[in-house]
Symmetry: C2
Subunit: 428 residues, 2 copies
């Protein structure tokens, strides 16, 4: 019989407790599948006394996660504290330096410090695994790193923040506005301590940056991501998108072209008949496209105790079975530094603006779009309210630069009221 795999868990929130429950409940099958037992030799969290619903008295307690990470009786350090820096990063570095493998669910730490951590792990001959950092229970890191490893990945697309998708689908279903549903999410505990991590797209952006690194063999580069949250989406946008056969999703898109690496996390329109368009509520979905496999769609719970613990366990079991992979699917020192490219891939765009009630206003808008090389696919003008009329435009495929030029030109006229809402239409 192989030796037990000894793990230490730092962070006893939802996910940490979920991992402990899973190891207890599924111990027999984990042993059958790995040929060894998984033993928890130590735990750590901010508060020792908090009631976490299960007994933790059987485990060695360490107040300091760094001390836990470097104990002699630990093979794998499981980092579930969160936070891009501070104790999570210090303990991860200490664990790697002490010759431990590390499993983490920490998307922020990987998105911001993934490259040096991967280099440290690989130089030390240790593995750093993070299935739980992206899309909860969906085994998407594994699918991308291993399952599609023979492919050149052409695009990664995903809805990876359940709270945003919940708000957007509830807006459509109930006719309640963004602010009402934001408050509901706050009450339900669906929001991060800093809600901008969710609704500002940052949390989902961290996940996309990690996937982009694996997909394209590039160093993780969250700072280069175009980020836009869902705060400006109105019921009007949702209704009008639905009218034209689209849904609005906080969509992550990453692709590598000759012009560089595009990474964006922003509200987009997707066809309502597409798998992403049919994704309601808090569920996550990731679409992976490869040059031989075509399109693979993965769907599942993106958060929560059980699903996230399942992803953590997948990494622990891989280590128990002896599977040793590079952090981002190829040696960290071979990852390239890609030039960021701002949305250069042409796409149709949706524009919603308010036109002042002046003669020739619509003609002026149309002329500006034409001058900027943006051609109109569909346009609707609705009834005036007060002195402004809502106008909705769907363009043919165009570049973001041409759209931006048109937006700048609108601002110099006296016919467009305020800043137009501009959403990319992502074709899938």
């Amino acid at each position: 019989m192989t030796q037990p795999l000894r793990i230490a868990i730092a962070g006893l929130g939802t996910v940490g407790i979920g991992v402990i429950k899973m190891i207890r409940q599924n111990a027999a099958l984990i042993e059958a599948r790995t040929g060894r037992t998984v033993e928890i030799t130590g735990i750590s969290a901010r508060s020792r006394d908090k009631d976490r619903g299960i007994s933790l008295s059987g485990y060695n307690w360490e107040d300091n996660p760094v001390t836990l990470a470097t104990r002699d009786d630990v093979d794998v350090f499981v980092e579930l504290m969160g936070g891009s820096d501070g104790p999570a990063k210090a303990a991860t570095e200490a664990a790697l330096a002490a010759g431990k493998d590390v499993v983490t669910a920490n998307k922020a730490m990987l998105a911001l410090h993934g490259q040096p951590l991967a280099e440290q792990a690989e130089a030390a001959g240790q593995v750093l695994r993070f299935e739980a950092a992206v899309a909860g229970g969906i085994p998407v890191v594994k699918a991308l790193t291993e399952g599609l490893a023979g492919n050149e990945i052409t695009r990664v697309v995903g809805v990876m923040n359940g709270t945003c998708n919940y708000i957007l689908t509830r807006m459509e279903a109930t006719g309640q506005g963004y602010n009402v549903l934001f408050d509901e999410c706050a009450q339900l505990g669906y929001l991060e301590a800093d809600p901008n991590l969710d609704v500002g797209g940052i949390d989902a952006g961290h996940k996309l940056a990690i996937l982009a690194s694996i997909a394209f063999g590039t160093q993780v580069d969250f700072d280069a991501m175009e980020l836009e949250g869902i705060q400006r989406i109105t019921l009007e946008d949702i209704a009008q998108a639905a009218d034209m056969g689209y849904k609005i999703k906080l969509l992550g898109v990453a692709q590598l072209t000759g012009r560089g690496l595009e990474q964006r996390m922003s509200p987009c329109l997707v066809p309502n008949t597409s798998p992403l368009g049919q994704l309601d509520g808090g569920t996550n979905m990731v679409v992976l496209e490869g040059n031989h496999v075509g399109q693979i769609v993965l769907r599942g719970a993106g958060a929560g105790e059980g699903p996230t613990a399942s992803a953590v366990m997948s990494d622990i079991i891989d280590i128990a079975r002896g599977t040793r992979l590079s952090t981002f699917g190829q040696p960290a020192t071979s990852l390239t530094s890609a030039t960021p490219a701002r949305a250069v891939t042409p796409a149709p765009y949706y524009l919603r603006m308010k036109l002042m009630d002046k003669p020739g206003a619509l003609a002026k808008v149309a002329a500006i779009l034409g001058d900027c090389g943006v051609s109109i696919d569909r346009m609707r003008q609705y009834d005036h309210d007060d002195e402004a009329a809502p106008v909705l435009i769907v363009t043919h495929k165009t570049t973001r630069a041409d759209i931006d030029a048109a937006l700048a030109a609108f601002a110099t006229t006296d016919v467009v009221h305020g800043a137009p809402v501009t959403l990319r239409i992502e074709e899938l």
Copy 2:
């Protein structure tokens, strides 16, 4: 630099040629991701002279796949000949005996001989991998064996034969009958040489039997599967299912309960709003349910050159990276022999029958159902054509045994014309 991984490919049909193209086209990234090159040191097929669209002159040719499988300069034997027995099995056994790893896309061979082959591989310290045997490009074997390995799997559900799904969705979309679309598939080359493998559910059943073994730690047992094809599905069934909010799919379901292992591949109704209900055309979908992860849905191309080659490459790359797993996710000698259980899990059923135009006919049917413990959720009687009236019944949850008792009782009456169509409604 690590040594090249030397592979031999037996079988140069669509998939074999796809693998060669992929190795050529993506050589640089495969090397980056594995740290070594993948070299084809030999090939074999039935006909050497056939034009396969690419030049094969650079590879050693062997007429006999067994000779190819045992060459000294081969590390991995890639079996893409197909057929459950004959040369595929002989060459696989020879490769394992000669100390080679084996990668295969052969679902029939694994469904019928997976247990002895796995035992042979593991006794020899070799790996036998088969991602391409199930659902083409979808990395479902990996998701189940590794991604969800910490879970007790509670159910596996899937649409895993693209041809059947194509026929069923085209019947609904075009109003053309089964026979017309069967002929269309034959012309398009969508059917196996023995079409019953497709429309009879056998091919999809092979895939389900393989997944069931991994999911439940049981020896693969295709012979115990309940099999029913799509040949009896009529436009009427499809229209009436749609009327009630369902789609008809050739659905595989495997679950292990206290009463044994249920495995069925049969036409079922699924809610048209569920991911499976929304699956149109030749695409495959597999739903995996685990006791912590909840429901994971995987979707992608289930066949074709690129997708199937992608799955073969995933296995080759795992081997190149040094990943060594048990064939079915735990040692073959530890797999249990499950008692087959015939559809004991209760479910609602759909019944379509023709009632003779006699007084009290409907009352008699209702009475029989009641006597058998089957309660009716919804019932519709349509206009008479000739002397029989179509009647459609959706039951509340009931067992297959109670349904069968009712069907037997109907046959003893003179009011039900012919054998009723009986389809299970699978809740997802």
